[in-house]
């Protein structure tokens, strides 16, 4: 125990006495660990941004899309029958999240005049399935489906058309048509490109489109007037598609098409990204380690006389070895702690959502990865041990008599 304390004390003394040299030798290791830890942590956040971005567009893994229509007429099934069949299906198979979306156009009375804008009628669960995170207000909820004033979630371009900067004035907009209705804007999302307005509306809310069959498939933009989306475990997606097509087809006597619509290959892409980041970190760390080794080799030759004197005090070979080695390990471990600390401060304080995600709050913001911090510390210590090995061997092999005379 005393021997260990002595070796540590000796190593620490050496680090303390030769602060400038130690600090210089550690710049490389500090930067390497800092880079590796920061990049690993940032990599996780970038991966999360990528994942959430992909999920906003095409749903979470695995999202199974279902379209049903009469093969003769192309018309969708009766809405009430469809709702009942879907409810029964969801209940029977224990599917926790099922959402619908249909595309149509609506007349909006805006300050610049009435405009026909594309509108997406979605069920509230669509927000969960597509990670819709409003930057202001809220997403649609169940109560909106029975509201007499349709709830709208729009993007910032729409707000601009409406001439309001935010939701503080509780803006409303009149939906035109044969029976106009005043809709309430309940949330703002950051979505779309440039000045393209985007509008989401609760699928069963009051207004001109609430009558069954009101959506004309001829004006719908995609395959059918309404698409059902089911969030299922990825490993069961194939099985679900088969069962859903069979059950709904039999229940409604319609053609049912199913396909998996979430982004494929995302996991592989992210794994490649992480691997590339890790490889870059390792290369930087090796370069930093070479710097420590280089300075360690020069230093140990300058310390030969001191090593000889210590041998005359009774220092064993093992003690000399461990002191030189520990000096390197202590120093690099300290550099590792400093680097990880700086990395945590950096990653926690960078406006990452602004920089990486266009200001859209992440639904699941990853914390600073403990694994990256531990990895950084272990890597720094390991580099110190490896870089200290050669100087320690040289120190042990120095002949005491020659060392004293040196």
């Amino acid at each position: 125990m005393i021997a260990v304390l002595g070796a540590l004390s000796e190593a620490w003394d050496e680090v303390r006495v030769h602060k400038s040299r130690v600090v210089l030798s550690l710049v490389g290791v500090f930067l390497a660990v800092f880079a590796m830890t920061s990049v690993t942590a940032l990599g996780l956040i970038v991966a999360q941004v990528q994942q959430e971005g992909a999920e906003r567009g095409s749903g979470r893994p695995a999202t199974v899309a279902v379209n049903a229509y009469d093969p003769m007429t192309g018309m969708p099934p009766d809405a009430a029958e469809w709702d009942a069949a879907v409810a029964e299906l969801v209940d029977r198979h224990g599917i926790t999240t099922a959402a619908t979306i249909s595309y149509g156009e609506g007349l909006f009375r805006l300050p610049g005049g009435t405009q026909r804008l594309q509108t997406m009628r979605v069920s509230p669960a669509y927000g969960e399935l597509h990670r819709k995170e409003p930057v202001e207000g809220r997403w649609l909820r169940e109560g909106d489906r029975t509201s007499l004033s349709p709830a709208l979630v729009v993007n910032e371009a729409f707000l601009e058309l409406l001439g309001v900067p935010d939701l503080s004035s509780r803006p409303t907009v009149v939906l035109g048509g044969p029976t106009p209705v005043r809709a309430t804007i309940v949330g703002v999302i950051r979505e779309g490109y440039g000045s393209e307005p985007i509008v989401y509306r609760a699928d069963r809310s009051g207004g001109p489109w609430d009558a069954p069959g009101a959506v004309d498939p001829a004006t719908a933009m995609y395959a059918g007037p309404s698409t059902l989306e089911l969030w299922v475990p990825p490993d069961q997606a194939e099985q679900v598609m088969e069962v859903v097509a069979r059950d709904l087809g039999a229940a409604l006597d319609v053609q049912v098409d199913t396909y998996r619509q979430d982004a494929s290959g995302l996991e592989e892409t992210l794994a490649m990204l992480r691997l590339a980041i890790r490889c870059a970190g390792i290369v930087v760390l090796v370069l930093g380690g070479l710097g420590v080794l280089n300075i360690g080799l020069v230093t140990v030759r300058q310390r030969i006389r001191e090593i000889g004197v210590r041998r005359s005090f009774g220092a064993t070979s093992g003690r000399i070895f461990s002191a030189v080695m520990l000096e390197s390990v202590c120093a690099t471990a300290l550099a590792g702690v400093a680097a990880v600390g700086c990395s945590i401060v950096l990653v926690r304080n960078l406006p990452l959502e602004q920089l990486l995600n266009d200001g859209i709050p992440l639904a699941d913001t990853p914390g600073f990865p403990v694994a990256a911090a531990v990895e950084g510390l272990v890597a720094a210590t390991a580099v110190g041990a490896l870089a200290g090995l050669l100087p320690a061997l040289i120190a042990v092999r120095a002949k005491v008599i020659d060392a004293i005379r040196f």
Partner: protein, 242 residues
């Protein structure tokens, strides 16, 4: 029983051209506890080699070296190191203080290799030793700020800090002026006597050698008792060649 006993000690070195260089030949020496012995000799006569063998820094090629009656030739490296730290204290001609460490840290350095209380109380013990050599007030000075005499006093304190049974001093006054050298030597003799340690001094200086109870002359690798008139001649000759 002698504390140290050397019988027929020889040390030879193989040279790169295949020849053998004898450094010590048939050296016999006994040293009792608390005794003060001096060895004089010309440069290259083997004085430092003898000191290294005594201090377990080097091993003889032939002969028997007993420490406390125990042969040292079969000691493992680890045991030799431990004995070196526990039994011997070294004073070098060039002081060999650890650079950029304070006087107190230098004196405490050998206690890093001690055990138990000696290790844990090393700072306090070092300060006490510095007080004993009159440098208590300069404990926090680094060697670069100390005079030659002060540095050698720090080195003496360092040699004595583990209460060794033998102090081996290799030209302890060699880097000092005559007056400072005399003061340092007096201090070394006094401090070792107070500690009850034996003192082996290797020197060119006859006046330094004269402080010892027994004096030897090393010439051509052979150790012999110093005859005063011969010693004077040797010292004179050494000064002429130095």
């Amino acid at each position: 029983m002698s504390l140290l006993s050397l019988s027929g000690i020889s040390r030879r070195v193989d040279l790169p051209d295949g020849s053998v260089l004898p450094i010590l030949t048939g050296v016999d020496l006994q040293l009792a506890a608390g005794e003060h012995v001096s060895i004089v000799g010309r440069s290259g006569s083997g004085k430092s080699t003898l000191l290294n063998i005594l201090g377990l820094l080097d091993s003889p090629t032939e002969g028997e070296y007993l420490l406390d009656g125990e042969p040292t030739d079969h000691l493992r490296a680890r045991r030799r190191s431990r004995l070196r730290g526990e039994v011997f204290g070294f004073v070098f001609q060039q002081f060999n203080l650890l650079p950029r460490r304070t006087a107190a840290e230098n004196v405490a350095a050998p206690l890093l290799y001690a055990r138990g209380r000696d290790f844990l109380r090393r700072r306090r013990t070092a300060l006490e030793m510095l007080d004993r050599v009159g440098l208590g007030a300069r404990a926090d000075q680094v060697p670069e700020r100390l005079s030659g005499g002060e540095q050698q006093r720090v080195a003496i304190a360092r040699a004595l800090v583990r209460s060794p049974r033998v102090v081996l001093a290799d030209e302890p006054t060699g880097a000092l002026d005559v007056e400072t050298g005399a003061q340092v030597m007096a201090l070394l003799a006094q401090a070792t006597a107070e500690n009850g340690a034996a003192l082996v001094t290797i020197t060119h200086d006859l006046s330094v050698a004269a402080l010892a109870g027994r004096r030897f002359r090393l010439e051509g690798g052979r150790l012999s008792p110093l005859v005063e008139s011969g010693a004077l001649n040797a010292a004179t000759a050494d000064r002429g060649t130095a």
